[in-house]
């Protein structure tokens, strides 16, 4: 025969454009909501992974470095401040420190690289300590340098692809015109390491005629108090301490402010969508006063009418919600790109991670809010008296 569900769903088909608009509203707001919740989880995971991939938790650089590092990257190494290499040992002697590694970062300007020239980033690293900090590095070809003064280079995957280098090939350090032999090519990591060229520290020092370093990477002992170490390092004159744990906290704090804002937007969107639902259902109840009255003369109880109208809300919200969540999953990578544009710092990998649990949770929220907003129109419909229909016939 005919079920109440059919009556409700067929009624929604009566005003197709109105129903469609309402559906689109719910769809968009559930899209925003699930993407946001997905971002909530995905971003932190990705950030954690990025920071773990740094290999060290603390970095010491010469003071003023951040700004000059920025200019260095743009102008090709001019004005960079350096640290004495003796600093390495004094830091390594501290009780909280597990391992340290000295790094010399250099950037050379290559006028032929791309539109307007580009920067080639070289890392002078210590063969004895650096690889231990990056245990996750995998070689696509070859391996680390023969010794710590070799004229050799290990290339990140993308640096190698760009220059079409294979193990055994040569590269030329721009500006300095020093040839180096490629001995290893790393697998893609999805981080900044992919674009980097690694050279033995001493080799790079010789190439750039410097006997200092720019950075010390510090791996802290398990269970050691990072904050304490960080603060004592900060007492060193002219030193800049970068703590990835702290940077992470800072980023998370910034993100959480942004997140709150976007979340409130999502909630507003949800509310607007729900007002749309209330409006749509209420309008359709008002238009159907007589029909509802007739249903009552047929023996429908107020609660029957209530559930009939509530079912309409439920259908709208579940169809719109499922469609929105589906879209969010399909376009998750697109959301990634958008998010990357907005955020100050985006880790690699998936930023918007939507899984089945999250999808169900969002659907539950949509349905919950939807059902809540359906209560008023449904109650209103339940209270229609059969006589209202007959009297309004005039």
């Amino acid at each position: 025969m005919i079920s109440r569900f059919q009556i409700a769903s067929k009624n929604l088909l009566r005003k197709k454009s109105r129903t469609t608009l309402t559906l689109i509203g719910i769809m968009l707001s559930s899209w925003v909501l699930v993407s946001l919740l997905g971002f909530n989880r995905g971003y932190e995971t990705a950030l954690n992974r990025d920071i773990d991939n740094m290999g060290y938790q603390l970095m010491v650089m010469a003071k003023g470095c951040p700004y000059e590092a920025a200019t260095m990257m743009l102008q090709g190494g001019a004005g960079l401040r350096y640290i004495e290499q003796t600093m390495v040992n004094s830091i390594a002697a501290r009780p909280e420190v597990d391992k340290v590694t000295p790094i010399l970062m250099q950037a050379f300007f290559d006028p032929d690289k791309g539109d307007g020239g580009g920067i080639a980033g070289y890392f002078g690293i210590d063969l004895a300590t650096y690889p231990g900090m990056k245990p996750f590095f995998r070689f696509r070809q070859g391996g680390w340098f023969k010794n710590d003064t070799a004229a050799e280079a290990v290339m990140g995957y993308e640096a190698a692809e760009l220059e079409q280098r294979e193990v055994g090939d040569m590269i030329m350090v721009p500006e300095k015109n020093v040839p180096l032999k490629v001995v290893g090519i790393l697998e893609r990591t999805g981080t900044q390491d992919d674009g980097t060229i690694y050279v033995p520290l001493k080799t790079l020092q010789k190439i750039s005629a410097i006997d200092k370093i720019t950075t010390i990477g510090i791996k802290v002992k398990k269970d050691a108090d990072i904050t304490k170490l960080e603060n004592s390092l900060y007492q060193l004159p002219d030193m800049q301490v970068v703590s990835f744990t702290q940077v992470k906290q800072t980023i998370m704090k910034l993100i959480s402010t942004a997140r709150m804002m976007v979340l409130s937007i999502a909630i507003i969107a949800l509310l607007i969508a729900m007002i749309g639902v209330v409006n749509t259902i209420l309008m359709s109840v008002m238009e159907r006063i007589q029909e509802i009255g007739i249903l009552k003369t047929m023996g429908a109880m107020p609660i029957d009418i209530f559930f009939l109208v509530w079912t309409e809300t439920l259908i709208l919200c579940s169809v719109g919600g499922i469609a929105g969540i589906g879209l969010a999953i399909v376009f998750a990578r697109l959301s990634d790109i958008l998010v990357r544009r907005i955020l100050p710092y985006s880790p690699g990998g998936e930023l918007v991670a939507i899984d089945i649990r999250l999808a169900l949770l969002t659907l539950a929220v949509i349905l919950g809010v939807g059902l809540l907003s359906g209560i008023y129109p449904a109650w209103k419909a339940g209270r229609v008296r059969p006589l209202d229909s007959i009297r309004s016939e005039g």
């Binding site: 025969m1 005919i2 009255g293 009552k296 047929m298 023996g299 429908a300 007959i390």
Partner: protein, 232 residues
């Protein structure tokens, strides 16, 4: 079913007062009447004389201001008690079927679904084959998969009649059932109602402006200023 004294509805001193601002209107002013099972009662009278109000009271669609109403020997209204919506619904769905001048079919449902509609909410035992039986009896079989918008007014009223009868009511209340139909269709509906009364023994209470229709019933009651005058 009903107690077997043959009396279906008995009204004693029914009144219905409406307030319009400070003015009080006695829409029904002390009506007493008895309707027996199998009766076909027609109400006529000028507009505003209280026909609809009376039929609504008889059909338990609303409470009277005062007076008593018994349904099959059972007291429904009287003694100052006022029935709530649920109680009225329970009484109505067991006893009455209603048709109106406007047919109130649900435009999104087919003819057959419209007839079956009451069963989605309430189903008396043993009414399983009623939908198709009524569609056949009213000559609507060939139209059952059409939507209301695709059939004529006369056909729509037939569908409304089938819908009113699907739960096998004892009494059919019809408020100007042919008010929206031309003479020919009105006559056809009249025949359908007469036939239902004669062959199925259905009690019919009808309001009509149409003198031809009024004559169909065995009893004719004229309303004037909220009072009922039975002729003959």
């Amino acid at each position: 079913m009903t107690t077997d004294n043959g009396v279906s509805l008995e009204a004693r001193g029914l009144t219905r007062v409406y307030c319009r601002g400070s003015e009080k209107i006695n829409a029904i002013d002390g009506v007493s009447l008895t309707i027996r099972r199998g009766d076909f009662v027609s109400f006529t009278g000028p507009s505003g004389s209280g026909k609809t109000t009376l039929v609504n009271l008889l059909g338990c669609l609303e409470n009277p201001s005062s007076g008593e109403l018994d349904l099959a020997g059972r007291s429904i209204f009287g003694g100052g008690k006022i029935l709530g919506e649920k109680a009225l619904t329970r009484i109505r769905r067991d006893t009455f079927g209603y048709i109106f001048q406007n047919f109130y079919l649900i435009p999104t449902l087919t003819v057959r679904e419209n007839v079956a509609l009451p069963l989605a909410f309430y189903k008396k035992p043993g009414v399983d084959g009623e939908v198709d039986r009524l569609l056949g009896m009213l000559g609507m079989n060939h139209r059952m998969h059409h939507l209301p918008g695709q059939i004529s007014g006369g056909e729509m009223q037939r569908v409304a009649i089938a819908r009113a009868l699907v739960n096998r009511p004892d009494i059919l209340l019809a408020d100007e059932p042919t008010g929206n139909l031309d003479t020919k269709r009105a006559r056809e509906i009249g025949e359908v109602l007469t036939d239902l009364n004669r062959s199925a023994g259905l009690t019919i209470v009808m309001v009509t402006h149409n003198p031809d229709m009024a004559r169909l019933g065995g009893r004719l009651i004229e309303m004037r200023d909220g009072q009922a005058f039975e002729s003959g």
